[in-house]
């Protein structure tokens, strides 16, 4: 008898629980779905994060850190660690190459707007040959902007995917707000003024600068 009673109570409790569960489902399907969405929204939002820090942190950091391209690159070729201490991100991953903040000012001597990964080659010392290649989008390579910032650390991200998306978001933001507004025609001979970053690489190609700010002068 007590056994039966217990079973009955249990049964009633289960029924009550099921009732509550069902009731909640029936009454609150939309709010619970929205709850799920807002949980996703609180997850990492790389584009929003970049937009949030761009004007307040990224641009001031680069402005304060950047050196003239010729000077930075000469020092980087002579002594990477010394150049890194001055123009680089000292908190970079030990095994990663240095990324330097630079200003590139000079004359455009060549342009590639055929490729989606558009670039301009800039002569900064007036000798008529290109010294740096500046990305003008819309497709952009690398994560130089992210990697130049000493306040962005891989350790602070859940995994490489979040870290990677953050890197991509910097390029996308620069393309959207700066590069997409640049002229695309008859670029050779015009002046260019760029604030950005580049990662030192061992290949023979020109150093590839990713801009955070860029201006192209009028046709000569």
């Amino acid at each position: 008898m007590p056994n039966k009673l217990t079973r009955l109570t249990l049964g009633l409790m289960l029924a009550a629980l099921a009732g509550i569960g069902l009731g909640a489902c029936k009454i609150l399907p939309t709010p619970s779905a929205q709850g799920g969405d807002s949980a996703n929204n609180s997850a990492f939002n790389p584009d929003g994060k970049v937009e949030e820090i761009w004007a307040s942190k990224v641009i001031p950091y680069l402005q304060q850190k950047a050196g003239p391209f010729a000077e930075v690159h000469a020092q980087a070729k002579a002594d990477q660690a010394a150049a890194g201490a001055k123009y680089g991100n000292p908190k970079k991953q030990a095994n990663s190459p240095w990324t330097f903040a630079v200003r590139v000012e000079g004359k455009i001597v060549a342009a590639n707007t055929q490729s989606r990964a558009g670039t301009i080659d800039v002569d900064v010392d007036g000798d008529g040959t290109a010294d740096a290649r500046v990305q003008i989008g819309p497709a952009m390579r690398g994560t130089a902007l992210r990697d130049s910032l000493d306040f962005v650390q891989f350790n602070d991200f859940t995994n490489q995917i979040d870290f990677a998306q953050f890197g991509k978001a910097f390029n996308a933001y620069a393309d959207k707000t700066v590069l997409s507004k640049l002229p695309r025609e008859a670029l050779e001979g015009r002046t260019a003024k760029v604030l950005g970053a580049y990662t030192i690489e061992s290949g023979q190609d020109l150093p590839l600068v990713t801009p955070a700010e860029a201006e192209i002068g009028p046709k000569p």
Binding site: Q93, A94, N95, S96, P97, S115, R116, A117, P138, A139, M140, R141, G142, T143, Q153, F154, N155, T158, N159, Q160, I161, F163, A164, Q165, G167, K168
Partner: protein
């Protein structure tokens, strides 16, 4: 009957006690746990870690979990039971591994992760991983160049439980999707497997004879895909892999696969052992738990310099 069993148990316990007591007189033990050595990448990791551990005066216990999280959990128990002082681990799943590494930590055994991350920090002492995203971008940029920025292509993806499968795919697409004339006609997982990639490629090719390129999440799948393409008389299809294996190096040298991305597997495993040794001897943790190592593009230009997941100068 009961008595016998108790006797057996006691004897067994005695043997166990002896077993654990004995290493106290021998060198400290480092356990090295990776996926199956069938994939030369994981073998290079295990060989690199073992060589460094021996060089530093440790005994080693080399085990494989075959990408099975349950088996990995058992192997971690084994390492703990054998009194390992540290575990070098290429893990069997970003989520499933967290508990296993926590278990080792609770038992006082520090873990040093290589190659793959887990979705938690503060559980392992170190997570030394290749910068798979940076590497994937290198591979994708080469792929885009080889394709002339246009044409139909196929993507072979790795094992879903492995963060690296997702990150490489993401890295590929972050580059390739900027080129609207490159059209992905198929995307399938071949689970890092050469044989699976072969059969998947065969059927993809039948449905899409007009493909121009295949980008693969690793080298073993690239080898499988290329073999299927060659068997169908389609050696013209551009194949790009990821890892930097000797097999793909040889294929590149003979004009088969066009490019791969080298992960410094051997150096990475050695670095993990060095950090483990520093932890065992000096109680010193690495400055950062999460450490990234950059990858290098391998194509016809530098393929001859590649040997066992390292480039010579």
């Amino acid at each position: 009957m009961k008595f016998t069993r108790r006797m057996t148990l006691a004897a067994f316990a005695g043997v166990l006690a002896l077993g654990t007591a004995m290493p106290a007189y021998a060198a400290d033990l480092i356990a090295i746990i990776t996926p199956s050595h069938d994939n030369p990448f994981f073998k290079a990791e295990a060989v690199g870690a073992e060589a460094k551990a021996k060089e530093l005066g440790y005994d080693t216990l080399v085990l494989v979990h075959d990408d099975d999280a349950n088996k990995q959990s058992e192997l971690i128990d084994t390492a703990i039971g054998r009194g390992a002082k540290a575990i070098i681990l290429d893990n069997a799943g970003a989520d499933a591994t967290v508990a296993a590494v926590q278990k080792a930590k609770d038992a006082g055994v520090p873990s040093f992760l290589i190659d793959r991350e887990i979705n938690a920090t503060g559980v392992a002492v170190a997570q030394i991983v290749s910068n798979n995203y940076q590497g994937a971008q290198l591979g994708a940029q080469e792929f885009v160049k080889l394709m002339g920025e246009k044409g139909n292509y196929v993507e072979l993806v790795g094992k879903e439980s492995d963060t690296n499968a997702g990150i490489r795919s993401k890295g590929y697409h972050d580059v390739i999707d900027d080129y609207p004339d490159l059209k992905k006609v198929a995307q399938q997982s071949a689970n890092w497997s050469q044989t699976e990639a072969y059969s998947k490629m065969e059927s993809i090719l039948q449905a899409n004879p007009d493909i121009k390129g295949v980008i693969s999440g690793n080298d073993t799948m690239a080898m499988g895909a290329y073999a299927a393409l060659a068997a169908a008389g389609r050696k013209d299809v551009i194949v790009v892999g990821f890892d930097g294996s000797n097999d793909v190096r040889d294929s590149i040298k003979s004009g088969g696969i066009k490019a791969t991305v080298l992960q410094p597997a051997y150096a990475q495993a050695q670095m993990a052992v060095e950090q483990a040794s520093d932890y065992i001897k000096n109680k010193k943790s690495p400055e950062k738990e999460k450490q990234l190592m950059d990858c290098v593009l391998v194509n016809g230009d530098n393929a001859p310099k590649l040997e066992t997941f390292a480039l010579t100068n």
